[in-house]
């Protein structure tokens, strides 16, 4: 008796794969939270309120895009929030010297790039572990801000500088939200459609193998640190513009929120896997949860607990399910 065996040329149909992906899980979570928010609070479904809510995540998400690439490549940058502080301090200093808005933007971006380059050189040239390097520069960058400012603040930013953090492009669409969307598309294309993006995945999965395949590992990593610094500079411009002043404590604790956003977005903390759409969804989820709970006047500490629980459950549930199904 002959047995007919069929060997499928692919294990799952593309649609099935898409449905089972991390992103669709996140989408379901996001839609659910949106739905529950609109039921829980009568003020949630208001265009202006939703517009205000986007400020909870836009600046952090800008950095999260670059951070996602960095983490996929197997590195991390914990100094992003202090880079914001240093870039903002430098811009405040430039204001005191009488510079106008275009110069301020250049200063913000420039300081971000320099900080990123500093991290990048230490990691790629001297071969130091990025987590150690950036824990060090975390204290260094913010320390400089504290030395310059002490308990003082820089203020007096030009009126047109306020546009970046407080301006509207059209109706309720803020400048920050627009920038967030544009950057999402740009980073999505870079990671998913270019050779550079494929090199990032390759390095994250196997840096030695990538090097032997002709990828210039150190150069790619250096560029990723530069990019993360640059995005921190962009976020610094937006945040400083939104606050209208600079204090050395600006963006305190953001590095962990940004890493949380990236991990929630499905980027493997060990490197080698993750997508930009995942990070975009994670940004929306974190923004919606904090805003929704804020509308119900849930204390901030409970919000942190909720975010933590969300992170653990979203990561743990599929794995637990997988284990249970195999058994």
């Amino acid at each position: 008796m002959t047995q007919i065996r069929t060997i499928p040329d692919r294990l799952q149909s593309p649609w099935a794969r898409r449905l089972k992906s991390w992103e669709s899980l996140l989408l379901v979570v996001a839609v659910t939270i949106f739905f529950l928010n609109s039921m829980a609070s009568p003020w949630f479904l208001d265009p202006w309120n939703l517009s205000d809510a986007t400020f909870n995540f836009t600046e952090k998400a800008m950095i999260a895009f670059a951070m996602a690439l960095l983490i996929i490549s197997g590195e991390i940058d914990l100094s992003v929030a202090p880079i914001i502080a240093l870039a903002s301090t430098a811009m405040g200093f430039a204001v005191q010297l009488g510079f106008g808005t275009p110069a301020l933007v250049l200063v913000g971006l420039g300081v971000g790039l320099l900080c990123g380059a500093f991290n990048g050189v230490l990691v790629t040239r001297f071969g130091l572990p990025s987590i150690v390097v950036t824990i060090g520069t975390m204290s260094l960058f913010r320390g400089i801000s504290y030395i310059v400012l002490g308990d003082q603040a820089f203020r007096g930013y030009p009126v047109d500088f306020a546009f970046f953090g407080q301006g509207y492009v059209w109706w309720v669409i803020t400048f920050e939200l627009t920038l967030f969307a544009v950057l999402a598309v740009v980073f999505g294309i870079v990671l998913h459609k270019t050779n550079f993006g494929r090199a990032v995945y390759a390095i994250g999965n196997n840096p030695v193998g990538a090097a032997f395949s002709g990828i210039r590992v150190a150069r790619v990593k250096f560029i990723l640190f530069l990019l993360t610094g640059l995005m921190s500079g962009v976020a610094a411009i937006c945040l400083t513009s939104r606050l209208g002043s600079t204090r050395p404590s600006i963006a305190m604790g953001w590095e962990l929120e940004i890493v949380t956003m990236v991990v929630l977005g499905g980027v493997s903390i060990l490197g080698g896997a993750g997508t930009i759409p995942g990070v975009v969804l994670a940004a929306f989820i974190m923004g919606l949860v904090t805003f929704g709970l804020g509308l119900l006047n849930v204390p901030g500490i409970v919000m942190s607990i909720v975010i933590g629980a969300l992170l653990i459950s979203v990561i743990a549930l599929p794995r637990l399910w997988e284990r249970w199904r195999v058994r």
Binding site: T32, A40, G165, S249, M252, G253, L296, N297
Partner: protein, 333 residues
């Protein structure tokens, strides 16, 4: 496979449903948000207690006690944004940053929300008025009165300040000197500076007792100095001879009150402060009073607040803490 998606969906739904509570709506109460620097600080919990007391007294007032997890301006802005979205009637904020909250608070005012600051102020363009716990004049008068109360026959007092350039302390001492003519029997023999360092303050206080053996009181208008001076008096065995007083925190001064090194000291009362802030916010939000230079706004049992040219007002004399009430307050702040 379908089942798996359904299960993850159900799980996330259940999770999210657990997170969202339900909002109960009363018949349009006046909603006053008391925004503090950070939650979980005894001083602000006590202020909330006062605000709730004001709410109970006024009736049909809901006090929303809220604030960020840590003392950042960004955290407070997120809180303020969600309060704007809820269209609360008033926001009373103790600010983490004088300037950074201004854009957010201006937006609140643009949307018809009454905004006041209390305790730690916001720049004038970001609020309608500011409530100071006290004023330099009242503090200056209080610190000498505290010493004089326990010196019926007059005597010698010395000042232990922070640094020579500490603005607050210098102003308070200046204000104190202005009222010295009301105390003809009291002589200020010396002013020393402990730089707000515990060990230096201790040494300076010890030195004061050596150079002036007949000293009756040490006035320290700084929370570091007053504790150090009390310990110096205890160590010198002069409890009962030298009374330490000034401005201090109940939690740090409880030991000195117990040992008798300090008979009394003063600092603002957070309960009164929260009570007044809620009362003022209510008066402004309901339109029974209007903020502006020279305005007089009622604040219940705390009397009436008079605003100066910057729309700022001082609540009251610093509150006196002694053996009768230290137990109650030492756990608060």
């Amino acid at each position: 496979m379908k089942r798996r998606i359904f299960t993850t969906f159900a799980a996330s739904l259940g999770l999210a449903a657990g997170l969202m509570g339900s909002t109960a709506m009363a018949d349009d109460p006046v909603r006053i948000a008391l925004v503090v620097k950070a939650l979980g600080i005894g001083f602000f919990e006590a202020a909330n207690e006062g605000a709730q007391e004001a709410a109970a007294e006024l009736g049909n007032v809901e006090v929303i006690y809220t604030g960020p997890t840590d003392t950042t301006a960004e955290g407070q802005i997120e809180v303020i944004n969600s309060l704007i979205a809820q269209r609360v009637d008033a926001i009373a904020v103790s600010a983490n940053d004088t300037d950074a909250l201004v854009p957010a608070l201006r937006r609140a005012m643009d949307r018809g929300i009454t905004v006041i600051s209390w305790d730690s102020g916001v720049a004038p363009e970001g609020r309608q008025m500011h409530l100071n716990p006290s004023s330099n004049e009242l503090i200056g008068g209080m610190i000498i009165r505290l010493a004089a109360d326990h010196m019926p026959d007059g005597g010698k007092v010395a000042l232990l300040s922070a640094t020579t350039t500490s603005t607050n302390q210098n102003i308070w001492i200046e204000e104190m000197m202005k009222v010295m003519d009301q105390y003809p029997d009291i002589e200020v023999v010396s002013t020393v500076y402990g730089d707000d360092l515990a060990d230096k303050s201790y040494r300076e206080a010890t030195g004061l007792m050596q150079t002036h053996p007949d000293l009756d009181a040490i006035i320290a208008p700084t929370s570091v100095g007053i504790v150090a001076a009390a310990r110096a008096v205890e160590d010198a065995g002069k409890v009962g001879q030298v009374n330490v007083t000034g401005l201090g925190l109940p939690s740090e001064m409880a030991g000195a009150i117990e040992s008798g090194a300090s008979k009394s000291f003063a600092i603002w009362n957070p309960i009164d402060l929260g009570y007044s802030a809620a009362y003022l916010a209510y008066s402004l939000a309901t339109g029974t009073a209007e903020a502006g230079p020279g305005a007089e706004i009622p604040m219940g049992r705390m009397g009436t607040l008079t605003l100066d040219e910057n729309s700022e007002g001082a609540m009251a004399d610093p509150f006196i803490y002694d053996a009768s009430n230290i137990e109650e307050f030492k756990d608060i702040f």
